[in-house]
Structure formats: C-alpha cells, structure tokens
Amino acid sequence: MTFLIIFLCIVLTAVVLVQLGKVTELATIIRGEADAQEDLNTRQGLFGMIFLVLFLVLSLATTLYYKNWMLGYGPHASASVHGDSIDEMFNITLLFTYIVFVLTHIALFWYAWKYRGRRGRKSLFMPHDTKLELVWTAIPAIVMCFLVVNGLIAWNEVMGDDGDEDIEIEATAHQFSWTIRYPGQDGKIGTKNYKMITGLNSLGQDWSDDKNLDDIVADKIVLPVGKKVRVRITAKDVLHNFAMPHFRVKMDAVPGLPTYFYLTPKITTKDYRKSLAKYPEYQAEDPNNPDKKLWETFNFALNCAELCGSGHYAMKKLVEIVSEEEYEKWLNQQKSNYFTSGVRFSDEDPYKNELFDAEYAARSAEFKTNFESTLLAEEKIVVLDKVEFETESATLTSLSKYQIMNLAEQLKNSPNVIIELAAHTDNQGAKSTNLKLSDERANAVYNYLVRNENIDSRRLKAVGYGGDQPVGDNDTDAGRQKNRRTEIRIIAQ
C-alpha cells in the first residue's frame, strides 16, 4: 500500500512537472523568445551566483565542522612517526587545491553571471592569447613540480626497505581474518610453505626450520612505542590489504608475494585515549559499554582495505601500543604456537621423537621432585608415566628413554637406593602372554639402565606382573590405559 502511494506520488509529481514545462513553453511563445531568453539568462545567472556562494560557504563550513576527521587536526592525529609527513603533504596539497578551487569557481560562475546574454550585446571575439596561455600553463606546472618533489621525498622515506627495524612481525591475511606472528626469542620469523598448511598448522610453518619453533601467534598486535617495526605482509587465499588508518599504513597482502611496511608507533594507546578525551565526539557514551565514555574504550585497529569477498568488511584485529616494558612483559607471556597449537608430538612434528633441552630439563626437575618425595613417602612407588612401548611389543618408544634418563640421574644422586622395575599389562589377552610381555618390558627398561646409563645391575630388579595388579577399571579404555604401566618400587634406600 505504501509502495502504491509512493508510486502514485512520483507519477503525479512527474505529471505536474511535465505540465509545468509545457506551460512555460507556451508562455515563452506568447511573450516572444528573445524576451523570455533574456529573463531566463538573468535568472539562471543569478541562480549560478547563489549556488556559488552557497557552495563556497558550505564547503568551508562542512570542512570546519568535520575538521576533527581531517588529517593532522584534532583527534585524528597520526599515531606513527612517518604519518606526520603524510599529513603535512596532505595539508600542503589541500592549501593549493583549495585556492584553485575557490578562484576557478568564482571565475566560472561570476563570468557566467556577468556575461549572461542580453539583447543587442556583442560578444568579444577572442580566439586565443598566447601570453595568457603560457602563464596558466606555467603556474600549474610549477606548483605540480613543488608537490611532486615534496611528495616523492616523503614517499621514498616511508617506503625505503633499509632493514634497520627493531622488530619484525608478520601479518597473514585470509578470508576473513588476520593471523599475527611474532618472531620469538631469536628475533627471526620462520619460513613457511602454503603446502604445509593443516588444521594444526594454519600458517604452513615449516617445522624443520628452527626459526619457527619459537615463533608466536598472537591474538592482537602489540607494539612498543618508539620502536621501528617492519611488518611482513602475506596472504593465503586472495588479495587483502593491511590497513591501519591511525598509523597511515596501507599495503596489499598478495598470495605468493610477501610485501612489507615500516612504521614507528609514536604514542601509546593509553596516551592516545587521553588525547581524545577533550573532544566532545569522544565524550559520548560507548554504546557497547554504557559505563564508559568513547575515549576510554578507544582502540587502534587493523582492517582490510582490498575487496576480498563477502566478509571483507569484518576483518578486524586489535592494535595496542604500549611502553617498552609492558611490551617485553607481554611478549614473555606469549608461548610459541609450536607448543600451544597441538603440533608438538603430533605426526606433523619432525621432532616428535626427541625432547628439546628445555623440555628435558623441565621433566628432569619434575621427576627429581617426584622421586625425592617418594623417598620420604609411605608408598614407595613412582609410575614411569612417560615410558611407553610399541603395541604388543617390548620395544621402547623413542621418547621413553628420556624418563629412563631422569631415573638414572636420580639413582646416581642417591647411590643407596635399590629399586624394582615393575611392568604391568591390562587384562586383555591370555594371561601367560601378558605375563611374558610384562616381563620383557621390565627387562627392556632394566637393560637400558644398565647398558646405556651404566647403572649397577645389583641395584635393579626387573619383574613382570602381567595383569595381576590393576590400579584402574579394566572395563573401560581409560582404566586399561592406567593399568598398562611401568613403575619403580623403592626396595631399599
């Protein structure tokens, strides 16, 4: 119904306007064309002048009204060092173009008004004027030279790839989010290969490159103020663009072709918020958080500025600029995604059969505590939870040796301790088979300790108990898992 009414209104307006057009046409014929045209010239010239005045006033007024959104004024100040040179270029260009805009518009509409057609007037025959034309070719040429030179100086300074950055981070774009990677302790970002991308390894990091092992995937961009940062920008699927308007940063992310951008943040998020506090548009309530003002919840953000598909408008990442100490603290809290993403010890992990020194040290310390407390405890049993065997076999898995090494260390520390190595199975299968298997398994550990760790064989005793001493429920998988175990019993100390 509303639709119909609107439609009828439009039709009616059109009819009225057409009729109006016809009437004025008739009036023109009655009054004589020349007369009518002269009146019309005056009226239209006048409209032109009114338009000119309104246009110039409104353009200036709206510019003043929105000046807080312009570059280099008010709250929209650059948050990066290089941004200032861009803002300056912008404002120089604004000055020149505004002068040209005003002068040419005045000339255009003023001449249109002044030289409106009147009967009996003759127009000036002025086909060209070489001197005048030279002048108005030369002036723009000079102004352009000035803008080009200054613009290029700024450009080459901003874009120079001189490798003198303090920090390099990597931003990888994909439909429709960003993955931010920090280099970790070695300060170097590891190589990646798109063919290695899996569910666990979303960037395709090549784990055989040691530089990858300490790399950190962060959920936001945190940067220290005053440090020069090189952002390596890559994409997984289609073109994206790494854009941070407050930092005057923008660069396409191209699949197969890493790009980069340098920036030096010059103000922390906290200080930037404070600088916003004095502007009325930031004193309004935050619609998402009614207890706070907009300036209090302000955050820098990374967005995508190259059409990348239907979710292009929502590729946001938080950007936080902090002091150097806060940055170090934050960075130290981050863990390498090699360890946090589930890659470690998975089939994708090239090091799944060995422990890194730090891991070994941690395990060693943990075992020591466990062992020493057992020495003081009532029940003198330590489960060797990291000692595992291949299925249905007495072959130790490659990672098992580390706990045996831990055990050997403790035996060396406490030379009086004598232990029994006890191996257990669950209740599946024939009893005799289980007994035999557990016996072999206990002996495998025994042999390792004696042969590889030089532990005196008199301090060790290997016993296989089969499924006779369950500690868990044999009716469940978890229980059976618990029952299949190797443990030590401290016999003497």
Binding site: A14, V18, G21, E25, Q44, F51, T62, W69, M70, L71, M89, T93, V100, A107, A112, Y115, R116, G117, K122, S123, L124, F125, M126, P127, H128, L132, E133, W136, T137, P140, A141, M144, L147, L152, W155, N156, D161, Q175, Y194, I197, D237, V238, P245, R248, V249, K250, V254, P255, L257, T259, N303, C304, A305, E306, L307, C308, S310, Y313, A314, K316
Partner: protein, 617 residues
Amino acid sequence: MATITTTKISETDLLIEEYGYDDHFHEHHDEDKFQSGFITTYIFSQDHKMIAKQFLITGMFWGVMGAMMSLVFRMQLGFPEESLMWLKPILGKWITVADGVGTLAPEFYYALVTIHGTVIVFFVLTAGLSGTFSNLLIPLQVGARDMASPLLNMLSYWFFFLAGAIMFASLFLSTGPFSGGWTAYPPLSALSQASAGSGAGMTMWTVSLVFFVVSVLLGGINYVTTVLNLRTKGMTMWRLPLTIWAFFITAILGILSFPVLVSAFFLLMCDRALQTSFFLSEIFVGGQALEHVGGSPILYQHLFWFLGHPEVYIIILPAMGIVSEVLSVHARKPIFGYRAMVYSILAIAFLSFIVWAHHMFMSGVNPFISNFFVIFTLIIAVPSAVKVFNWIATLYGGNIRFNAASLFSIGFVSMFISGGLTGIFLGNSAIDIQMHDTYFVVAHFHIVMGVAAFFGMFAGVYHWFPKMYARFMNETLGRIHFWGTLIGAYAVFWPMHYLGMAGVPRRYYSFDTFENFSHFANINKFITIAAVVVFALQVLFIINFFYSIFKGKKVTSRNPWGANTLEWTTPIEAGHGNWPGKIPAVQRWAYDYGKDGKDFISQIIPLSDGEKDNGDH
C-alpha cells in the same frame, strides 16, 4: 526572427550547391538498401544517426539499472537497520529474512557494487556517451554521408547489445552475478571457492566484456577511419570541431588499450579453466592448497590498468569535446585557445598510457617504480588545468545563452575542477597511502569521471536532441534537472571526502565491526537521501526525453542554436546520406562567433577577402 531563418536556409542551400562536393550519392537513391523497411530502419540500421540513438537509449537503460543498484546498496549503507522486505519480490533470496526484517545479503551487496561499476563505466559512459555522440556527430560534423563502414558500425552496436544481454542474464544466476569488484582482481575473480560470484557469474561477466571490447574496437576503427578519410572538401584537421578531435583521440585510446584488457581476460580465463598460473601462486583456499605456483596477481593489475587508466579518459574526453562545443555555441564566442585545447587532449591522451600504476601504489609493486608514475600522473594536471582555464576564458566576454545544454556544460566544468583537484591528492603516492581505497577515492572518481561525464552527456543530449528527433526537449524540465542534479550530486559525493580522510574504507557492507568507522551514520543517511533525490531527477530527464521525442516543441529552423558546424546545414530531418544534394565544403574553422560584428559565421561560408582563418593558419 522567422524571416531571418528562412533566408539563412536558402543561403545555406545556395552555398552547398555553389561550393559543395558532388559525390553522385543520390543518383542511386532508389535502391537504398539501408532504409527500405522497418527492420533496416529501426533495428538493423546502418545509418549512423539511428545507431547513435540505439546507443543512447541502450545506455539510458543501463544507466537506470546501474543507478537502481546504487540505490539498493546506498539503502544498506545509509539505513542498515531498516527492513528491506519490500525488495524481496525483486531480489528474492538475496534478501535474507530474520524476525520479519529483511536484510541485504553481503554477497549480493558486493555483486551490486561490482555490476554498478561495470555497467556505468563500460555500458553507460563508454558506449552510451562515446558511442552515441561519436556516431551522431562524426559523419555530420566532418561532412560525410555516413561512417566509413556502416556495416561494422551496425555490428558495433549489436555486439554491445549482446554484451548487455549476457551481463543482464548473469544477474539471475543462482550463485549470483560477479561480485569481486569492477576491476576483477584475481585471485578473488579466479577462484569460485573464494566467492560464489566468481563462478558462473564471473564467466558471464568476462564473456560479456569481451563482446563489449569487440564493439568498442569495431566502433573505434570506424571513427578513426571516418575522421581521417571522409572529411569533406576543405575540412583540414585544424578546422575540425573539438568534439571530433575528442572522439578521434578517444577512439585511438580505445583501439590501443582495450585489446590489453582482453589479453588480461584471456589469461584469467586460462587460469580459471585450464589450470594455468598466470595470476595465481601459492594459494590455500577452501581447505585446500592449489597447485598454481609462480603466477603474479599484480601482473593482472598492470594489464587491467593499462586499459583502466586510458578508460577514464575514454570516458571524459568525449564529454570534454561536447562541453567545448556547447559552451562556445551558447557563449556566442570562439572556444578560447582552440589549438591549446587540441594539444591538451593529445597530451592527456599520451600521458594516460604511462600513469596506470598510480592505481597500484599500495598493491605491492616496487615503491621505486612509483616515483615515475607519480611524476607522470601529476603532470596530467597541467593540460587539464589549461582546459579548465580555457573553458572559463570562453565564458569571459561572452553573451551567454542559458539553457539546459549550456548549464550542464558549466556544471561539467565545476565538477571537473572539484573532482580533478582531489586527483592531485591521490596521484601523490605519499598521500595515497592514507587515501587509497577509502571513500576519498569514491568521491574523487565519481565527481570527476562519473558526474562530470554524465553532465557532458546531458549537455550533448539537450544540445543535439533537435538534430536527433527534430524536436526540442522541454527546457524547464531540463533546468530543474540541471540544478537538482548539480546540488544533489555534490550532496552525494562531497561528504564522502570527509569519510575518506577519516580512513573509512570503500566496499564495506557494514561499519558495525569497526567502532572507528561507525561515527558517520548521519553522513551516510544524508548521502543516501541525496542519492534518492538525484535518482528521481534522472527519472524526470527520462520522462522529458521520451515525451519530447513524440510531443516536444518542433524544430522550425535548420540551425536553432546559431551554430557553425556542419550538422546544422542538413535538413531538419536529415535522411540517409545527411545532405540531400552535394556535401557542403568547409571554408573556415568552426568557431567564428562574434567575429567582425557577426553573431556567427557557418563553416560553409567562404572567407572574405583578406580574412584570416583562425583554425588552419
């Protein structure tokens, strides 16, 4: 006034008879195979005047389509909370309904933006503008019976029609029309896994544009040949009206640049269908690592913009030519600095080929290369400034007759200034870091090549309507159309500069995710309302256009505007072959207005003793 006109008519005929060139054209008039029936006259016509009308009306159809698309996505931007249920009957599944509130699907938002850009740039402002006026004016103003090859000319239109039909059909695909932006950058445009519109929608989009390029090339070869070979006796190059210079250079630009676009499309088609890797490398999409290695998406951008930049001059040069002519005729003054105008067209055309990478400052090309492109880009400001100053100087000392045509020409100059000046920001790569792909760019190109080119087109339509249909368009409606559109277009695009400065990116379906971009709800509302008003005014133009074809005031004299060029020496309703007898001979340049105390001196009037020709000297 009427008596003066009558004597002029006879004088014109006498002059043509005395000095004109007899090509024996009408001796075999009886067997005119061109206009013997309804189909050959109105549909498969080979008459350049009819083909011009076909281009114009098809262009208007696509103009309305493109504008309506923009209204739908402006609704989304201006009133994101508002229910769009009322569009459900038209857009169907692209309006998703939740709790009775209809929302535009993001995929379709991007499809609308993409198709809006494509059809306005190619179908309206290339075919509708250059196609219409090159066809109408080249033979008439150079003094030719028709185009060099009327058959190719007809094919040019029908290839355009075919391109349009395919594009139109693609709107109805179940996966949606192409939605990767009018520039169709791969990999997005190459991978249907990355975007539904990049499947069949992209295939049809590419096929459509390949046919469109065929149309442009057939037309362009014809325009160039006609201007070079079919100029009448005495019509030297330096006596050509600026319209013809503009169409001529435009056609050359098109011939040189459009094939490069097609080459890009062919490579893209190979990547899409034949598993080649011209533009694709190291892509992981849809949970799968693709085999493509070694291609460069940036190569496509180079090829695309090698057309893309000349394309904006293909759009604006014809408008410049039309405006130069219309301003001069209605200011009753010669165009100021005719030669400087020609040289600046040539300079702009030449420079347009070596600035393409200014669209790519932020796309990962070597920043060092950008230095050259900045220099060449900003040099374009010089010939452009010369043109603006010359137009203003043309008004100076004139005796300006205000009507819809001359008003739109003045409006064109205003738009060209406003939009051109913002180009100085964007062409400077340092500033482009901030402005690239923001609303500042949207404001810039819509004003300078969108609205300005439309103004040139409107000026041309109002000015040459009497030649096309032997009737006038309604002037009152024309002036309402002008003032409304001038104010409305500025209201739409001027505020976008402020959004752009704040860093608000273009091609965003919604600003909800980013608090920093969501400060501008009021501006977006304002822009949408202004867009609706401007659209309504264009409907008024279309009503005026079709009403005037049948009911407009009749043209009673051959030369209603008192213009010098040859089209006004033809009969009011010119038949096939344009002149009933001999072809007029040209004696002077086209801009003798107000010379030696005479209001105007037609090009066919011989120079008097000792009189110097201001064009060819």
